[in-house]
Symmetry: C2
């Protein structure tokens, strides 16, 4: 068993093309023994966004704090806030945005795509 | 993409032997398209506990609200609260308890053990 405070986990900026003011903590992953699943914690600062993209792995998201916008494959913008969950299917185009004044924070779980 | 409020998801009591006052919501799972991973939301009412058990799947846990006790394989009781994460390895004995006065709420992610 591994127990940590989220705040103890190193936070790094996601410096991919198409992202802005997006920070990530890998709460639980291969480094602490989880081979199949990775639990990440994202913070989008005000004005931040993730890349609008798709990939072969799904996302299981739970909003932890604040509110933000999710853009679906058709370009629809849906407002979500603490207490919402989102399932993004494999290969589905998506983006997370924070046009608001407070941090937008969410857990995002994925399969460990590098496990094999 | 599926977006729901957690409070919209049906909550059921976990009526297994060895559990008490434990409630579960399956936030994201096979019913809404997630084949590989299941995200559940548990609420332990004051005085509640999960079964002390082990199984072949791992748990990725994030504490959402309140505080509680995690019992590890050696019987050590560790207090955790909102903002902690816990990785329970496959086949590791564990139990969650709420001896406190407020609800103890956490997300618990598992692989979909019935997928094959």
């Amino acid at each position: 068993m591994k127990i940590r405070q989220n705040s103890e986990v190193k936070e790094v900026e996601v410096a991919l093309k198409g992202t802005r003011s997006m920070w990530k903590r890998v709460l639980i992953g291969p480094d602490n023994g989880s081979k199949n699943i990775i639990m990440r914690y994202f913070t989008l600062l005000p004005g931040g966004y993730s890349e609008r993209h798709s990939h072969s792995h799904e996302h299981l998201v739970n909003i932890e704090s604040g509110k933000g916008i999710v853009v679906d494959k058709n370009g629809n913008e849906i407002e979500v806030s603490e207490g919402y969950n989102i399932f993004v299917e494999a290969d589905e185009l998506h983006q997370f945005q924070n046009p608001f004044e407070k941090n937008f924070e969410f857990i995002c779980v994925i399969p460990n795509i590098n496990q094999n």
